[in-house]
Amino acid sequence: MILAKTGNEAIAYAMKQINPDVVAAYPITPSTEIVQIFSSYVADGEVDTEFVPVESEHSAMSACIAAAASGARAMTATSAQGLALMHEMLFIASGLRLPIVLCVVNRALSAPLNIHCDHTDSLASRDSGWIQIFCEDAQEAYDTTICAIKIAEKSFLPVMVTIDGFIISHCMQRIEVLSDEEVKSFIGEYKPNYNLLDVENPITLGPACLPDSFFEHKRAQAEGMNQALRYIEEVFKEYKERFNRELFILEEYHTKDAEVGILCMGSTSGTAKIAVDNLRGKGYQVGLFKLRVFRPIAVSYLQRSLKNLKILGILERMEGLSAFGGPLFNEVRSVLYDEPERPIIISYVYGLGGREITPEEIEEVFLELLSLKNKKRENIEKFRYINVR
């Protein structure tokens, strides 16, 4: 079935079809709509969900954690400050290995206050032990939200599915949806690892671990993330086999013969594809890498795909404030360190606080990269900005 949906509507619709047991959420721009639409599904009896309209995002995540630990499938959505307020609880969700799905509508973090898109919110929670999957458009958001349930429940890790605030969340697009039955049969039943409501088999969840066991718990959790990519691959594969829709871990666009590439995440990939088309029309061999899975780091994919480039521009929608670039730049760069041949890598910070990025600007980046590709890497300024006045 084809529907016209904004990114937020697409996610809310996926949530309706998932029909989670518990949704605990708090409004925040630009993710508010997801919760708002979902609560109308609750009001109309279209879902069986227990909707908990909590008094803060901290409580939203706390309640989702408690629900998931009580044998319920739990979901929520948030943005920016909301995700920051959840920060403490993100680590607890993953440390307890609870398969919660959180839809993040990316927005800049204060200060100064800004409600528009950048990736600082999700990227700031990169070390919280959550799988993070970035989506380009409403279709991808819809498909990924459904897959995320299954990825989470296979890996026993919580999953963030992200879309760009306003650019995708509020932009009407054509999406193809599955039937309710297809979604239901794809995700199956939630089989929890443990269940607090199993009163015949009581457990204590969340004990204090002293130095004699804390380390082992963290090591075990790390193993969960080490295995996660495999589950993502499995779920994407099954999704393709059943519904003929392909989801990527690292999507490539005209990269086969490219010496010059750009890597980015989220909606900018769509813009960059236009830039690639334009330049290809003029005979330039340039390509685009759209990274979808930011956690776990898709090491093998990145190595295989990027090592033969001469030069790579990384479009980073976050100012890392580290004096050495943002997380996307640093991590991709680090992944390529062991390759005997590796591209020059340049960081381009762009689009902060919803600053628009155009195909022309990305074309300029490609042309700049082309002009730099034969230079000595140590002589090149690696930290650049796009359209900052």
Binding site: D21, V22, A24, D48, T49, E50, V52, P53, V54, E55, S56, H58, S59, S62, A63, C64, I65, A66, A67, A68, A69, S70, G71, A72, A74, E88, M89, I92, L96, L196, L197, D198, V199, P202, I203, T204, L205, G206, P207, A208, C209, L210, S213, H217
Partner: protein, 309 residues
Amino acid sequence: MKSIQDLIKEKELFSSGHRACAGCGEVLAVRQVLLASKKPIVCAMPTGCLEIVSTIFPHTAWQVPMFHSAFENAAATISGMEAAYQALRRKGKIDKKIYFIAFAGDGGTHDIGFQALSGAIERRHSFLYVCTDNQAYMNTGVQRSSATPQFAHTTTSPKGEKLPGKLQPRKDIMEIIIAHEVPYAAQTTVAFFHDLAKKVEKAQSYEGPTFINILVPCPLGWGHLPSLTIEISRLAVETNFWPLYEYENGTYRLTYKPSQPKPIVDWLKLQGRFAHLFEEKNKHLLEEFQKYVDEKYQKLLKKCELSGK
């Protein structure tokens, strides 16, 4: 109502082997509540003394399901558990009645956990929230909380050359909870086990959020002998510092009335945290304390009278 003969037959759900200090009032309150509670129970607690003494991996004192996640979210946690229960019950995956209890200290209730508690009550989840009030942050080493009484010495409201301990009177959490129009809220303490047990059972007979505020002496933080935990708990009531009362369906009722109230100094003098009040220069503060207790008690009596109880 369970009689003492019933209570002694109850299974201990808070096991020995926990690492609370000798004479700890908080774990005693937990033990008493669990004995009195209807079953089956599922519990939550925030970070704090109780969590540290009862659940150091791979040990747990809890013989019922217990979940600790963070400090400020006991009420949000119990909300999520109760929501899961409602959803799974509706789907036919759970068929029995489960009672939810959150145990939190004064920090986790009056201060950092307050927002979550207010929200959970307003949303009308069904749970009993037990505040084990030892009137300071004991787990981190006796810092003042908004439940610390006026003039008490704590490590962040120390008695000094200029200041006589904490300057402000404590927050009246009961009135704040009652303002949420809960079906049932009550105040009790460990020395009055029968009173406490009755209140637990009563609270659990209501759907929706209920609240019990339990005064729990802390030998370490209050500076008293471990053997005096019950004596001090009892004196708090006999001096009218901690009246035993309940609020039920809109009416207040005293559940115990000291026939001959004792002067507040009887309670204060057993506790190191008030020792400085007995120095010559602070004598007037004792009077002030007494006045505060009397006025507060009179106000409560008024409310009970207005309720016709």
